[in-house]
């Protein structure tokens, strides 16, 4: 925070330079001025690095511009790209792959995460330590995680294949998690679940801990069975938190890139090509800048809509 004193000194000097008559007005105004002085730089930075590029993307999505031919003539193509994307079978295939990935990761992570949170909420000895241990995977770099799981998934020598063959007796070199069309979508689901179950667990735990004890006490007095208590108290009261976790995982996995890019790169063929991978291939390999800008805008709008719902969910949880 070394720049703060300088700023204070500057403001003081400005205040001193003011004629004393309007000094009071300046003091009255200064709160507003300070507010903008404080918020302004952040807004400016975001305008420069997010909004200006966004507007540029919208413009590019109406043109035939190609980033690898910056000097070629740029032609206006109207809504052509949008038309083409909505009718493009590859894009729909990528959307389906993404949906498969999002839905299965959410189901697995929610069931495992809520289950773990429920167990941890029993407050056994050492639960704080084990909770921290469980949380480690979600703090790692998805790219580095994707990369080292390719090692665990090696057909012959990989630990994952060995563990599966140890448990089931199948020959560890008889299946390829990343090379097979049938298994590779599950390979990325497994890694994502490994990494992000703790995330869901942590939010569910907060939900469970937000339920006041007196409700359970009242249920106890009414002789409600533990089963009944779980379905009519625990689950409904933790539900806003579960929804929050589900929404955020949904948004994050909808735009998933890092981990999939390193695990499979979208392959074999395009079996694991999620939308972000399609976008990367179109934008940075085929250099179809106009087309990929239009696809980017479609993704933006989707994520923006989801983010809107997410913030509403956040505010609901906050009111508790």
């Amino acid at each position: 925070m070394t720049e703060l004193p300088a700023q204070t000194a500057f403001a003081d000097r400005v205040a001193e330079a003011m004629p004393s008559g309007i000094g009071k007005t300046v003091r009255g105004l200064s709160d507003k001025a300070i507010a903008w002085l404080f918020i302004g730089p952040t807004i400016l930075l975001l305008l420069a690095i997010n909004i200006f590029p966004l507007i540029w993307t919208i413009y590019l999505s109406f043109t035939n511009y190609r980033a690898n031919r910056p000097n070629a003539e740029v032609k206006y193509v109207g809504l052509d790209w949008y038309h083409r994307i909505l009718g493009d079978a590859d894009v729909w295939a990528a959307m389906q792959t993404t949906a498969h990935f999002v839905i299965w990761t959410i189901i697995i992570e929610t069931v495992l995460g809520f289950g773990l949170a429920w167990l941890i909420d029993k407050k056994f000895r050492g639960h704080a330590l084990w909770t921290t241990v469980i949380l480690i995977p979600m703090m790692l770099s998805p790219a580095v995680v994707g990369n080292f799981w390719t090692f665990l998934y090696q057909p012959q020598s990989g630990l994952f294949n060995y563990a599966i063959s140890f448990v089931t007796g199948i020959d560890p070199s008889s299946f390829q998690m990343l090379g097979s069309v049938r298994l590779s979508p599950w390979a990325i689901v497994i890694v994502d679940a490994w990494m992000w179950t703790p995330y869901v667990m942590l939010i569910c735990l907060a939900g469970l801990r937000s339920i006041p004890d007196y409700i359970y006490e009242a249920a106890e007095v009414d002789r409600a069975s533990p089963w009944r208590q779980f379905w009519s108290i625990t689950l409904p009261m933790a539900l806003p938190f579960i929804m929050l976790a589900v929404l955020f995982r949904g948004i994050e996995n909808f735009k998933m890139f890092d981990m999939v890019n390193l695990l499979t790169g979208g392959g074999p063929g395009s079996t694991t090509e999620v939308v972000s991978i399609t976008l990367k291939r179109q934008a940075f390999e085929s250099w179809r800048t106009g087309y990929s800008s239009a696809l980017a805008i479609i993704l933006f709008v989707t994520v923006f809509g989801l983010a809107n719902i997410y913030v509403k969910a956040l505010n609901r949880v906050k009111q508790r």
Binding site: I34, L45, L46, K122, W130, S141, V144, F148, L299
Partner: protein, 317 residues
């Protein structure tokens, strides 16, 4: 309070169910740690040990992975090696036992330095800007406050690849492609949204009376902010900084698309550590180990604030 504790014990789980819960959680924790422990173990294996079948749990530890990570080597025939002066260091000796000669240092140190500069630079800027903006949003009437806050958060949720297309073009025009400054600005923009939301939560919790008292004592608003609010918010600022640091440290999508050499960070570099005939897994594992150790430390430091960080400050426990 004693009444409350007593009441709590009525619904407290029984010892048996607590033990079962503990056992299940511990089993999950151990299974989940195996992949990481395996990578750390692999970093101390020799290349043949790392890909042996069945996988070796017991092995003779070797620093070959680390030596390979930090050096580039060329293969020589034993006759050529015999003509060289005897090795002076342990790593020379290790490399020569594989019929190789160290040609020079690898790129790993510059990449690590890039990661450190970009992570710390962007964290400093994001936390600096974020603290100011969070204070502004927390204490003043700002027109369209909720919309501005939503706008700030929504910038973080944008798919990085979609953002990267115009950024790539913009940076090409501005000469910021593959520069540390460009990456610092970009990561600052991504992190500042998290910083604003997190810090607003922390500053909201500081009673306004502190500043009001300071201002009655004759401090200006800015002095009150500096002397009364900042010290109170120190823990929150530190936690936020660690979150920003972790994001910038881990980021891959922008780094792989916008940097190729001089500004490349570790995440896009690690997968391309290759030896003869494919990936040199012990060296990759060594790089991964060195790369994730700071994250272990940060996770432990942050454990009380993790929930806040991942929910943008909304859920506070």
């Amino acid at each position: 309070m004693p009444g409350l504790t007593q009441a709590h014990s009525v619904v407290a789980p029984s010892t048996a169910s607590r033990r079962i819960a503990g056992a299940l959680v511990i089993v999950y924790a151990i299974i989940t740690m195996i992949p990481l422990l395996w990578i750390i173990a692999t970093s101390f294996k020799t290349p043949p040990d790392s890909i042996s079948y069945p996988p070796k749990v017991i092995f003779t530890p070797s620093l070959e992975g680390y030596v390979n990570l930090f050096t580039t080597r060329t293969r020589q025939t034993p006759e050529v090696i015999a003509t060289l002066p005897p090795p002076t260091t342990w790593y020379d000796k290790l490399v020569r036992s594989r019929n190789m000669v160290i040609a020079g240092p690898s790129n790993v140190i510059p990449r690590f330095v890039n990661s450190i500069i970009i992570a710390f630079g962007s964290t400093f800027l994001a936390v600096f800007l974020g603290t100011l903006a969070a204070y502004g949003f927390s204490r003043f009437k700002v027109p369209l406050k909720d919309d501005l806050l939503f706008f700030i958060l929504s910038t973080r949720m944008m798919p990085p690849i979609a953002v990267a297309i115009p950024i790539y073009l913009m940076y090409r025009e501005l000469g910021l492609s593959d520069t540390k400054l460009g990456m610092i600005l970009l990561y600052t923009a991504v992190n500042v949204s998290l910083a604003v939301w997190l810090l607003k939560g922390f500053i909201d919790e500081i009673p306004r009376e502190y500043e009001e008292a300071a201002m009655i004592d004759g401090y200006t608003r800015l002095q009150a902010f500096r002397k009364a609010v900042l010290p109170q918010a120190a823990t929150g600022i530190a936690a936020t900084a660690i979150f920003c640091l972790i994001f910038a440290w881990n980021e891959y999508a922008f780094a792989v698309l916008l940097t190729s050499g001089t500004a490349q960070t570790m995440p896009p570099f690690i997968p391309f550590i290759i030896g003869e005939g494919g990936q040199d897994w012990p060296a990759v594992a060594a790089a991964t180990t060195l790369f994730v150790i700071p994250i272990f430390v940060f996770t432990i430091l942050l454990r009380k604030h993790l929930l806040r960080g991942i929910t943008f400050g909304a859920v506070r426990k």
